[in-house]
Symmetry: C2
Subunit: 354 residues, 2 copies
């Protein structure tokens, strides 16, 4: 069948917001020009609004992983003890980054797909300097109640910092840094913000700003904090992506609640459709960032991928221990109800054709 345009139904990168594409087609900005500084500050302020922080949002040129490492490296010293619940590919990444940075990592192993329940945090014996959480674990499609977890953890360790991977939750699910008792978070440009990959966004609460233990060079947050409030960055930023960030934020922030409701509804439609086809969802609690279903008995992932591809859509399989066992379909990118209807019907046809 003729396909005019392939649709990206992956949990990042995603279908771009037209305002991002428009920003990327502009002539090159010099990052030290007044125009660039204005755009940088607009992006920074917009991100602070999205993270709901009175502290600071920072833009780093790198993938979300660079932002995760920046937070670990700048908030904890070697030898500090952190608790890391591991229940997917991205929570596993927290554990590895912390270990590589010389922290003492207490892993709490959970079955992939499960979420962390506040009472689980009553077990491990402290003291801990930090808790590293994954809000939306997109490898399994699970959403953690990071607010409840922060509360439970801080009841035991009031001095500890709670650091959250919000890479596939910011702009997709509700988020409130200080309001939820969190101290720092990280997000990325190629997820809920519908921009290309290349920027990490980190947020530091006023308390996290007081606890900074800066390390490293490129990912040293003290260097960035010195200059980003003037619309500059310590090193040449991916300023074209900063401009795309600012442009999409301008469109998105005025109606963020409606946008989150849409993402929720789209995901419900896909889950309802999949369950109607007899598919079993992987996550214990569903994140609106992506659906994640076990493959039907006797069906291999490449067949499902191919069935979607023939109909003009790119989906993605499992990662880590879920590789070859699941498939994931996401409408986190630029899309609305119309797309959810199209993808629901496409999913029906693709899976019935197996």
């Amino acid at each position: 069948m003729l396909v005019y345009r392939n649709r990206l139904l992956t949990p990042g990168p995603v279908e771009l917001h037209p305002k991002a594409l428009e920003a990327l087609s502009r002539p090159q900005l010099h990052h030290r020009s007044d125009a660039a500084k204005q755009v940088f500050l607009q992006a920074k302020r917009g991100l602070e609004q999205a993270f709901q922080t009175q502290g600071q949002a920072l833009l780093l040129t790198g993938s979300g992983t660079s932002g995760m490492e920046a937070l670990v490296q700048n908030l904890f010293a070697p030898g500090d003890r952190v608790l890391v619940p591991v229940h997917g590919n991205f929570s596993e990444r927290w554990a590895r980054i912390a270990q590589q940075a010389g922290l003492e990592v207490e892993r709490m192993e959970l079955e992939w797909g499960r979420v962390v329940h506040p009472e689980y945090l009553e077990g491990p014996s402290g003291p801990f300097q930090g808790l590293l959480l994954t809000h939306s674990e997109s490898s399994t499609g699970a959403l953690n109640d990071v607010q409840g977890l922060a509360q439970a953890f801080k009841a035991r360790f009031p001095q500890a910092l709670v650091v959250v991977d919000a890479i596939t939750s910011l702009f997709v699910s509700e988020f409130a840094l200080e309001g939820w008792g969190l101290d720092a978070a990280v997000a990325g440009s190629q997820k809920g913000l519908m921009c290309p990959p290349g920027l990490a966004y980190v947020a530091l609460s006023p308390r996290a700003l007081e606890c900074l233990k800066p390390r490293g060079f490129y990912l040293n947050l003290a260097s960035e904090l010195k200059v980003q409030n003037s619309g500059e960055s310590a090193w040449t930023p991916a300023i074209n992506l900063v401009a795309a960030t600012a442009a999409v934020l301008e469109e998105l922030l005025p109606h963020l609640p409606e946008h989150l409701a849409l993402k929720q509804r789209q995901n419900q439609i896909l889950y309802t459709t999949g369950q109607g086809l007899g598919l079993k969802p992987v996550p214990e609690v569903q994140s609106p960032a992506t659906t994640c279903f076990y493959l039907p008995e006797g069906t291999a992932y490449p067949q499902v991928k191919e069935a979607f591809a023939r109909r003009g859509a790119t989906i993605i399989g499992g990662q880590g221990q879920l590789k070859g066992k699941v498939f994931r379909v996401s409408l986190m990118g630029y899309s609305d109800l119309y797309d959810a209807y199209a993808v629901a019907e496409l999913m029906r046809e693709a899976l019935r054709s197996q």
Copy 2:
């Protein structure tokens, strides 16, 4: 005067190659798709050709500085002794990165604008594990003979690694990694390749690949070496910029010698014009990446900047100890002889108006 389009005459970011803009306006690629892997490998192979290496080129999502830190962190261990000639803002950056990474740094201080002469390397008493050089020191406009320097250094310390910042020399001036006796180099997307900022390119000679001492997480080169030959990257890459890189390389590589001759000629035209106006060049040896002139007696930088801006062009001033003393004009971006003529005449008018 009406200006239809501002021209960026800065030594990075630069005027974009139309093929870069075209690549950036395409729909989002998923970095794990076959199409993306093909583009990634095309960029990687093209960069290896440009660096002239039989080793490996790697693409990192970050600024040139991230590539500098990656090389220092992965080629040297804490306590290793490195020699760093310091004669500008970027050679100063080498020294700081090496120090921050726990290396023992022997600084060789030179006047800014001077180049390093091979005989200077006979002085410092070894042993040294490395020499960190800046090929084109764009803060002063100076070009180092890195081939002669590598030869002189290795005559004394044959086991040492010579690591070169080629950020404003690759695609602007001749370069040959192993052919010149160099072990590793770094470049950036927003310079001679005429793409937006956001990617660092590093090159490792076969010998450097044998000497790897991987450290860190995001900038760990062992993680990248494992996957980049399959067209993947350890962390989500700025795949849109990778596509831009591949697109420009495809245009540029077949006639690279003519391109370098053009950059050389453009810079000569600007230096000849400036000297005809009584301006004194800063660099002892001129890099084709940028001109750098001392400001005329009694003229402040903002006046010169403004005189260029009124005529539709953005230039840049000095950095570090040259701040307020010099101005720089570069045609490293997408431009040909026509632009050199325009900028020469613009410079004449702008400076006579002072």
